[in-house]
């Protein structure tokens, strides 16, 4: 019983925590990437 709960918790926690991190990284990372590219002063402007 204890082992089953451990497996359930581990797999559930893994999916849940990763989903949160993934959404954060993708949503908030995009503006960061654009800002970083702007700071590079590339030939194409992002304005």
């Amino acid at each position: 019983m204890g082992f089953k709960m451990f497996c359930e918790f581990t797999i559930g926690f893994a999916f849940g925590s990763f989903l949160c991190i993934y959404l954060n990284v993708i949503m908030k990372g995009a503006p960061e990437i654009i800002r970083m590219l702007k700071s590079l002063r590339l030939p194409v402007s992002f304005r």
């Binding site: 797999i11 999916f15 990763f18 993708i26």
Partner: protein, 473 residues
């Protein structure tokens, strides 16, 4: 196996996006800070993306597939050891805050500043060995995976991916590595959890998966209390110890922490990366547990790939291949850069006489040569080789235990000397090699002894040679 023309198009588009982004950012001024640290401009979330992309390949595939047999239970326990170790290192702040306070660029520099040239060269050589072997193991695992995905010899595909990774690493350095990591994570982060879910479904749902895990647990239970056990408390603790040592000294971690735009970004980015690692280890454990039901006859990396191919719906195979390419290339590019950096900064530049120190432009040339060399050597040793795991674990254990002893003593112990630093690397490695290959002890005993011996050698040699070599600071 079930690759359609459309899947090839998806993979080709992916490669084109990655290489054009990587080369696009290279058209900039060339300075060491630009190449090695992306001008210290990396934000929190892109840093976390880079952590995820780099470490996932190693954790999920090399340690799972490289071990030959798949043990999903070991991976499930190791996931928690990994999380605990990286969280402790993250909150402690050794890899993220210390180098930034000292305004240093690489892990080697930290050791060099405290323990001098010789220790820095030993560290550079050891760590380059670790990363080249890691790259070889990554290549060997992925070539077996792609053989399943493509259904033919993957030689062309592997060569193409290595070439793409080398081209963008050489041209843009850390900038390219971080920006392409974001693209890689975008694909990896969807496809790996999804394929874990599909393989769980193909194996018969969570209950079937649990039955499989419970069987492995029941088999392992009688020996769990012994030191030889793979999944017992002792084994988990030793894994935790080694993960902690690795988190405290591995150059790829320092390189990321140093390229963040602020201390806060490097601190939080590392913590986000640490939490995501639990997910990574668990997803690979789920796929490995499903492999027993879905493709029982295959072993290692091939079983991993066969399970993914058999359970993923046909339309998603191309994306799945793209995700695997992403894991492979992001791991490769970050490690190429790390080896290039170590061979140029920690080895070549230290061996040159004091009055012939190279400028920024020469440093970058050294770095590029290092990147190409590491790609070449790792390709030669990795492709079609099955026996890298034993050598790799030796190098990993020796470097992690010696490196952690040096870093910790360097930060906290004023009496530590360069004799202690050199000795800690050699003592850990010697103990591991002797225990494992001469006395044929299990991995647990050898690894635990290596860590203890490294720290003991650091303490003993520092005290013995305190006055002869250098005055305590």
């Amino acid at each position: 196996m079930r690759i359609l023309p459309a899947d090839y198009i998806i993979m080709a588009v992916y490669l084109v996006i990655v290489i054009s982004l990587g080369v696009y950012v290279s058209n900039q001024g060339e300075s060491a800070v630009h190449m090695l640290l992306a001008d210290r401009q990396i934000g929190l979330y892109s840093l976390a993306a880079s952590f995820i992309a780099t470490e996932w390949g190693t954790i999920s595939l090399v340690f799972q597939a490289g071990a030959g047999g798949l043990n999903p239970l070991r991976q499930l326990y190791a996931a928690w050891a990994l999380l605990a170790a990286f969280l402790i290192a993250g909150f402690w702040g050794i890899p993220t805050i210390t180098p930034r306070r000292k305004k240093l660029m690489t892990a080697g520099e930290i050791i060099g500043e405290r323990f001098g040239k010789t220790a820095r060269i030993i560290f550079g050589v050891f760590m380059s060995g670790v990363y080249i072997l890691l790259l070889g193991a990554l290549l060997s695992a992925f070539s077996r995976m792609f053989a399943v995905f493509l259904g033919t010899s993957p030689a062309f595909m592997m060569l193409l991916m290595v070439l793409v990774a080398v081209v963008y690493t050489v041209s843009g350095g850390m900038w390219s590595v971080v920006l392409t990591s974001y693209i890689h994570v975008f694909v990896i982060g969807v496809m790996i959890p999804v394929s874990a879910l599909f393989s769980m479904k193909a194996a018969g749902g969570f209950d079937a998966l649990f039955t499989e895990l419970a069987e492995i647990e029941a088999k392992a239970a009688p020996a769990a209390a012994t030191l030889a056990s793979d999944t017992g408390p002792a084994a988990i603790f030793i894994k935790f110890l080694l993960f902690l040592c690795a988190a405290l000294c591995f150059p790829t971690i320092y390189a990321r922490a140093c390229s963040a735009r602020s201390v806060g970004a490097s601190y939080k980015g590392f913590l986000l990366g640490a939490i995501s690692m639990l997910g990574c280890a668990v997803f690979s454990s789920v796929i490995a547990a499903s492999a027993a039901a879905v493709s029982p006859k295959a072993a290692g990396a091939a079983a991993f790939a066969k399970t993914i191919v058999a359970s993923t719906p046909k339309g998603l195979t191309g994306l799945m291949c793209a995700a695997s390419m992403g894991i492979f290339m992001s791991g490769c590019s970050a490690y190429y850069l790390a080896v290039g950096r170590m061979l140029s900064k920690d080895v070549a530049e230290q061996l040159l006489p004091e009055n012939k120190k190279p400028g920024d432009a020469d440093s970058i040339k050294f770095l590029r040569v290092g990147v190409i060399l590491s790609a070449l050597i790792s390709f030669i040793i990795g492709y079609r080789s099955d026996n890298l795991t034993a050598v790799l674990t030796f190098f990993l254990t020796a470097a992690a235990s010696g490196g952690a002893a040096c870093t910790l003593a360097g930060v906290y112990w004023k009496k530590a000397t360069k004799a202690g630093a050199a000795g800690s690397f050699l003592a850990g490695g010697t103990f591991y090699a002797a225990a494992r290959f001469y006395f044929h002890r299990g991995y647990n005993v050898a690894a635990f002894g290596a860590v203890i011996f490294s720290f003991a050698a650091m303490a003993a040699l520092s005290l013995i040679f305190a006055n002869k070599t250098e005055r305590a600071v």
